[in-house]
């Protein structure tokens, strides 16, 4: 058979190159995340605290258990630290959820809200905020009433989407179409609730455009641990996501149980999205653009894209939150608007540079 043996870099191992790139992403990502985290806790509307002082204040506040704190410690411990922790979880979670959906549905225009999760979550959250609807077992003044309503609404919407999609054949296109119609349905109900909100309209709008302003220590961990945990666990299936990129027939032919994998990943990605939006509202752009940017920068291997998405999503969210709370202080901006303002020009630049060789 024909052969072309002569190449200068013939013996270079591609797997070794990938492993090296993976280690670099992890190391660089950890350093980047720590830097972004430290910047985030050092700067606030009140001014800039030197990083070394911020680190000292953070550790001393933690050592004191959050009691008897001085002004700087109090700012960092009670406000900036929980926000930063939640931002890391939400940024990483939304980026990974977007990455998973784009791979499963094989559509570059897909974001974590494609299965109607955000519309369902929004509809239920607005019902609570605007109309004062109560939830059994949860007090009407509880901090958790909106997040619980959002998670329940998001999962109900996803359940309906999944039911319609599976009932119509279960293909990726069926999921998109079912998600779009379910999204429309919940959005229209949400609009009705909004028009009835009257005095509570401003609170409702805050949730709809995303904000970390109401994050406390308790809910920061509730967001961060499951969001980051699920994101890291999802990376176990990175090779299966690679296989899915060739289409369902090819994945099936190579021995994958396509139906089970798709259902499981859809459920995981939707739960992840619901957790991310529950406490902080709907933050767009991150789940759509971060996986794209990672793909353009480092190819299609999900073993590289997924860790890079976690890092980039977390960093973008940290910086977006920083800008949202400082740039027009004391006015706080919706973080979803900032993620789009930062990400759009960067993504446009990457698209112009690399778009021609990228068919996704």
């Amino acid at each position: 058979m024909k052969s072309d043996m002569e190449h200068p870099d013939d013996e270079v191992s591609e797997i070794s190159i990938k492993k090296r790139r993976f280690r670099l992403i992890v190391a660089f990502g950890l350093v980047m995340s720590v830097i972004a985290f430290l910047i985030s806790i050092s700067i606030s509307a009140g001014g800039i605290v030197p990083v070394n002082e911020a680190i000292g204040a953070m550790f001393s506040a933690i050592a004191k258990g959050g009691t008897n704190l001085n002004t700087v410690e109090l700012y960092i411990y009670s406000s900036r630290l929980p926000r930063a922790i939640a931002a890391i979880g939400v940024g990483a979670g939304l980026a990974i959820a977007g990455c998973m959906y784009q791979a499963i549905i094989r559509n570059p225009l897909v974001d974590p809200y494609i299965t109607g999760v955000s519309s369902g979550a929004g509809c239920f959250a607005i019902a609570v905020v605007a109309l004062g609807v109560s939830i059994p077992l949860i007090g009407s003044n509880s901090l958790y009433i909106i997040p619980v309503a959002a998670i329940v609404g998001g999962l109900i919407a996803f359940g309906i989407t999944m039911g319609v999609a599976e009932g119509s054949g279960g293909s990726a296109s069926n999921y998109i179409l079912a998600g779009v119609i379910v999204g429309f349905a919940f959005s229209s109900v949400q609009t009705v609730f909004l028009s009835m909100a009257k005095d509570n309209l401003s609170n409702a709008m805050w949730w709809l455009y995303g904000s970390f302003a109401n994050i406390t220590w308790e809910n920061a961990w509730i967001v961060m641990i499951p969001a980051l945990g699920i994101s890291l666990i999802a990376m176990v299936w990175a090779r299966e996501f690679n296989l899915f990129m060739m289409g369902e027939d090819q994945a099936k032919q190579l021995g994958m149980n396509v139906k089970r994998f798709k259902r499981t990943m859809m459920i995981i990605a939707s739960v992840l999205t619901a957790i991310c939006v529950a406490f902080c509202g709907i933050i767009g752009f991150v789940g759509l653009i971060i996986p794209h940017a990672c793909r353009m920068a480092m190819g299609t291997d999900h073993r590289l894209i997924m860790p890079a998405s976690i890092v980039l999503g977390a960093c973008l969210m940290l910086f977006s939150d920083l800008i949202a709370r400082t740039v027009l202080s004391p006015l706080e901006l919706p973080v979803g608007a900032i993620t789009a303002m930062i990400g759009t020009p960067i993504f446009a630049y990457m698209l112009i540079r690399r778009g021609r060789e990228y068919d996704g």
């Binding site: 990938k18 090779r239 032919q253 149980n257 793909r295 299609t300």
Partner: protein, 276 residues
């Protein structure tokens, strides 16, 4: 099943919404042959191939590959025996040639994440064999149609199957690449792999294939040496086309379609001009 048989199909049927796409098909293929699967659009060629590699679950019948009944085997086990080459790569999201071909090693990888040096060696050998090693870091979307087709075949080749199913490999290719791809497929058959190719170019199939399987309306019409099977009568029966079938100066079969046989002959339709 004899030692020489790679594929044996017994009474295979596949029904979609009351339509029998494949209807009680039985045949067997020997080892190391290039086999052309010929028939008109919608006759069940692709459906039958998808049943063989378990993309579709057959409605009835039995399929044996290498002597093993695949109906009770897990898809992952079947993929070590049978590989399939799609007609097109489709959207590849900027995937490189190396990454795409490496996907063919999926059934063999036991570890969670990384392929082994052995997997990489198999892939690099395949890339060299198909003359695309120098393109391994290029994106699949930037390759020519011929190079892309070779990459798809290489991906199936690294599964190290005993039976390869190839769906319309030359449909987008010019004459040179058509011959090029067929040469590769023929070489694989010469190296003891049985290759079943569904294709519309009957001249090309007759020239390269050791055997031809002819399908019409979900059933096998004929099977055998292309020089004996491909006749003007067969083309008329299967495709409803008048064609000249002959031998060229090198003794190779050519099929020259002349006219389609329609119930309502479009050649007799009088088109009215919109111009006065």
């Amino acid at each position: 099943m004899t030692d020489d048989e790679v594929l044996r199909i017994e009474h295979l049927s596949m029904v979609f919404n009351d339509h029998k796409a494949v209807n009680d098909v039985s045949y067997s293929l020997p080892k190391g042959k290039l086999v052309g699967l010929i028939g008109p659009n919608g006759c069940g060629k692709s459906t039958m191939m998808k049943c063989i590699c378990k993309i579709h679950q057959m409605t009835d019948g039995k399929i044996f590959v290498g002597g093993q009944d695949i109906s009770n085997m897990r898809p992952a086990e079947v993929s070590k025996l049978v590989a399939s080459v799609p007609a097109e790569a489709g959207q590849t999201f900027g995937m490189t040639v190396m990454d795409m071909v490496m996907l063919g090693r999926y059934p063999f990888i036991d570890k969670i994440w990384w392929e082994t040096e052995d997997d990489e060696r198999v892939v690099r050998e395949a890339l060299r064999t198909f003359g695309i090693d120098h393109l391994r870091r290029k994106k699949v979307s930037t390759l020519s149609s011929g190079e892309r087709q070779r990459a798809l075949i290489a991906k199936a080749y690294v599964q190290q199957p005993i039976l390869m199913l190839v769906d319309e490999p030359t449909s987008h290719l010019d004459m040179k690449y058509k011959l090029d791809v067929m040469e590769y497929l023929q070489n694989m058959a010469r190296n003891d792999m049985t290759v079943l190719v569904a294709e519309h170019d009957i001249s090309l199939m007759a020239r390269y294939c050791d055997l031809c399987v002819i399908m019409k309306k979900g059933q096998i019409i004929d099977i055998g040496d292309p020089k004996k099977v491909v006749t003007e009568q067969l083309i008329r029966d299967v495709y409803e086309v008048d064609a000249r079938v002959g031998l060229d100066v090198d003794g190779e079969i050519y099929v020259l379609p002349k006219r389609a046989r329609w119930d309502n002959n479009p050649g007799e339709t009088h088109f009215e001009s919109s111009n006065p």
